[in-house]
Subunit: 547 residues, 2 copies
């Protein structure tokens, strides 16, 4: 039986219309490094988005065409966030920290037609400018030097954002789009292979923005001023720009000024009520605060995501600044909001018990469905103990990748997150390892991360990485790779004893190796691939101890 | 360009799964009139919903089949709210206050196949039991007398809810449904003609439940205990049951105990944090509180809708109980959330200015688009002054009626609300009249409601209704129908003078008639149809005064 409801598409244009009409006075405030910040109302941002769409259309961008951004978090990037999807084109936010070969690869893989680039980033983009055969125009934000792009092999024109907009009038008529068509795209970081493109739809973007407004999650409202530190090239800045236009929250944009000094000055001066960043940034603010007086009193909360924040970080912010940092969990593939670790309501704020809840990876967000499955693909109970791979599905979860169905990443309609963990009977989940790093021993799983953290808690240990190595009897057994502190000493047996009291005996490694340094990825994480390769080529000196 | 997002349907089953798994400990608490209330966790409600679906399937209910409820707000009604849509059938909530002929009409118009009826309401339903040829079974909630239904002409069996569920096991497999298919239906009250059926989809129900969670609107969370006084047969109880399963808010259900004594005892005993009711109920609580000590301290807010609440009501709750009542606006056609009148964040709580904002009809909710149009269908500016008919569109707004496309109710994809009002530049709207009651005079609109309120503010006036009557020069002019208080006296000229200082001179009526009583509808509203009929048949004695 059909319903009588209107067949009304969920779209980025609808988000833009709401922000403009209902919250036209809310602002996008862009930090300029000390002088007065730049201010634009949502109404002005919407006007500029209409001008930008007209300009892009004049450049030949059509429905479905890709427009990339190579930008910081600022007003112009926000204008592109609305203009490009609302005109029916696809916004491709480029990570400014990619290696040149990755950058060229994803620009070409996505068929980017126009690239909007911040003048400060022109040199970075110029390194690949001759490897981009499909790019038809570069649009520079700011008045800085554009020469490094000029001599590109295509002869693609290098234009100025300001001039393009000045030549247009507001009033672009947003087309009606199919809500399942592409609105924006973002590539995964590709730590485990080539970057993969996730293509968000108008529908998923709208629904995710509704979730960002949810009182059970971030719950932003017109009373908020949200310092968006998480980059706009990183999963749509966690959905905050779109959530802001639905809710009226003012956006604080740091531009290129990502240093703690600037961020904390921004907060103090503009009275940010919420700030969202990865743990590294929070850590930087904490260190900076040890030497400087900070005023974070306007913040009602902080949010942290992208990696697990250590207890010491959350505790330090709570104790020194009375600031509650809430962790969220998600991936490029999940738009990203999968869940946030707000403690249950009966838990007393400020207690150690509350901190235990806040150290969970998250609690399943409304709109997301989650399950954990074992190696055989069997669903495991939500008992807080059974360990399996976390799988998710829902209207803002990806079901494939751009030009790459990647069936190995999916399980009967569910996305395999590659994260290993537990879920309790209230939907709180705890990620204990990455699937590729977990050690499968005798049908049970051993968390490499847990062993590493315990080892690094030993006073003699500087770094530790644990990998699984083949074992004829147990399938896999853990090999502990240890870097001792200078002038410190510890034997494998001593370190094994250290672990023995802290994990089940069968989890304690019997294979050990000592080295000068653990190899690391470009973002500073332990890189276990070279360790595994060295083990395979028998290039590691291994001690075997009896357990 | 297609997105890579999963094609995941928004559905009532998804809401149910979330409530069961993430908020399985939250409760539905049903008041029993003084003894201990009945408690069921969301997990138990979900189990019972599965049993109910199995039982209904056994009774022959198939996808798209209609299952009606004739019930109070209680646990069993909540179970039906989930079981019926999640199994792919359509929940039809029957208004227990309908006249028998209307009740029979809508049951037959909707093709209700099964009716779930509370035992206390059996006598009401029995009045029409022989006029329901399509009904195949009655299911009685409770152990009360079912005999009045037994002798129905169809020989439809009269079954017991409790026994049906006891015969089934949990574990019903919810089918995947098309999100645009029907989930539930509700008929309009039909004050201006036959009741019309609005059929909500799974999609609209899910989206509306997301909106109920929005921090800018009701914003319910797991910390809330929501006293749902608004009947579940009234636009899905404003979406609170579905919002509760998405957010984990405990539901407080008053059952048949709608008297202020019970409601306030419920609040005090179970520490409700939110209560939602029409102004009449709030008024009853206020009057009751004049004679009794009330503890409303657990309420963080109240919500009011269905009709405009007078300033005195909102002020009295604020002053006496520190309780902030927020008005919402919506219709059966709008699911119902169209907007709520939360003041903007810069307005100081507790000030007269704040109260002015709270007396607005609402502020456009994210997900709803609104416009006002004049008689010629031209869109008017959002300047807070231009008066036109309010039109809305969006994913939870109806686009037609069940078996009745009613094109006169729609305007190029927008629902004509029949409400006349203004919108300001921040999306706050103020309804001044119903379209059918507004008086169109010389190209300008005169609000009948405003004149009535001003007249009833005169000490000699008990009741006043103002209708438009044909006028050769001005198209229409207002006719004031006045009931004087016993022992009070006032002439038409005196009353006209009273108005003259308060509205524009051209709005002051020159036609007056005095009567003993204004005719009223069954719900106590002024009924202007008989007044217009009497005017047409020259049955009113009219005084014409010079202005």
């Amino acid at each position: 039986m059909p319903s009588t409801m209107q067949d009304f598409p969920l779209s980025v244009a609808a988000i833009l219309r709401h922000g403009r009409r209902v919250y036209g006075r809310s602002e996008c405030v862009t930090w300029t490094g000390g002088a007065e910040p730049r201010r634009a109302t949502f109404a002005q941002v919407a006007d500029n988005a209409e001008r930008l769409a007209a300009a892009l259309q004049r450049l030949g961008v059509r429905q479905g065409g890709r427009v990339a951004t190579f930008c910081w978090n600022d007003q112009e990037h926000l204008e592109a966030y609305f203009a490009v999807p609302a005109m029916g084109a696809v916004l491709h936010t480029l990570n400014i920290r990619l290696f040149p070969e990755q950058l060229a690869h994803i620009i070409n893989h996505a068929d980017d037609q126009v690239i909007i680039v911040d003048d400060s980033l022109v040199p970075l983009l110029a390194r690949v400018v001759d490897e981009l055969p499909a790019v038809e125009a570069f649009v520079i934000v700011g008045d800085g030097d554009g020469a490094p792009l000029e001599a590109n092999r295509n002869g693609a024109p290098v234009l100025r954002y300001r001039e393009l907009l000045a030549a247009e009038e507001p009033g672009y008529e947003w087309p009606e789009v199919d809500e399942r068509s592409a609105a924006s795209m973002c590539y995964t970081s590709g730590t485990t292979g080539d970057p993969k493109g996730v293509v968000y739809s108008h529908r998923s973007t709208f629904l995710h923005a509704m979730a960002v407004q949810s009182a059970s999650l971030v719950g932003i409202t017109e009373a908020d001023r949200v310092l968006t530190i998480v980059p706009m090239f990183h999963v749509n800045a966690w959905g905050l720009p779109y959530g802001a236009f639905l809710s009226g929250a003012t956006l604080h944009m740091p531009g290129p000024f990502m240093q703690p000094q600037h961020l904390t000055e921004f907060i103090a001066r503009e009275r940010s009520t919420l700030a969202s960043a990865v743990p590294t940034i929070w850590n930087g603010i904490l260190s900076y605060g040890e030497q400087h007086e900070l005023d974070l009193s306007s913040l009602r909360a902080g949010t942290s995501g992208g990696a697990a924040a250590p207890r010491s970080l959350l505790e330090a912010f709570e104790e020194r600044y009375g600031l509650r940092i809430i962790q969220g969990w998600g991936m490029t593939e999940t738009s990203p909001l999968g869940g946030m670790a707000f403690p249950p309501p009966e838990v007393e704020p400020g207690t150690p018990e509350e901190m235990d809840w806040r150290l969970k990876s998250g609690r399943v967000a409304a709109g997301v469905e989650m399950r954990i499955v074992d190696d055989a693909g069997r669903e495991l109970p939500w008992d807080g103990e059974s360990v399996g791979e976390i799988e998710v599905r829902g209207p803002w979860i990806t079901g494939s990748y751009h030009r790459d169905p990647a069936p190995e990443k999916f399980d009967d309609g569910w996305l395999r997150t590659g994260d290993i963990g537990t879920i309790d009977d209230r939907g709180f989940y705890q990620i204990t390892d990455r699937a590729k790093d977990v050690i499968k021993s005798g049908g049970e799983w051993i968390s490499s991360v847990e062993l590493e953290n315990l080892l690094m808690g030993h006073p003699a240990v500087a770094e530790a990485a644990v990998i699984g190595i083949p074992d004829p009897r147990w399938d896999e057994r853990p090999l502990a790779c240890v870097v001792l502190r200078p002038d410190a000493a510890a034997t494998a047996a001593e370190l094994a004893d250290h672990l023995a009291g802290r994990v089940a005996r069968w989890q304690v490694p019997e294979y050990w190796t000592f080295m000068d340094e653990i190899p690391k990825t470009t973002v500073g994480k332990f890189d276990k691939k070279p360790l595994r390769a060295r083990h395979r080529s028998e290039d590691l000196k291994i001690e075997h101890i009896e357990r």
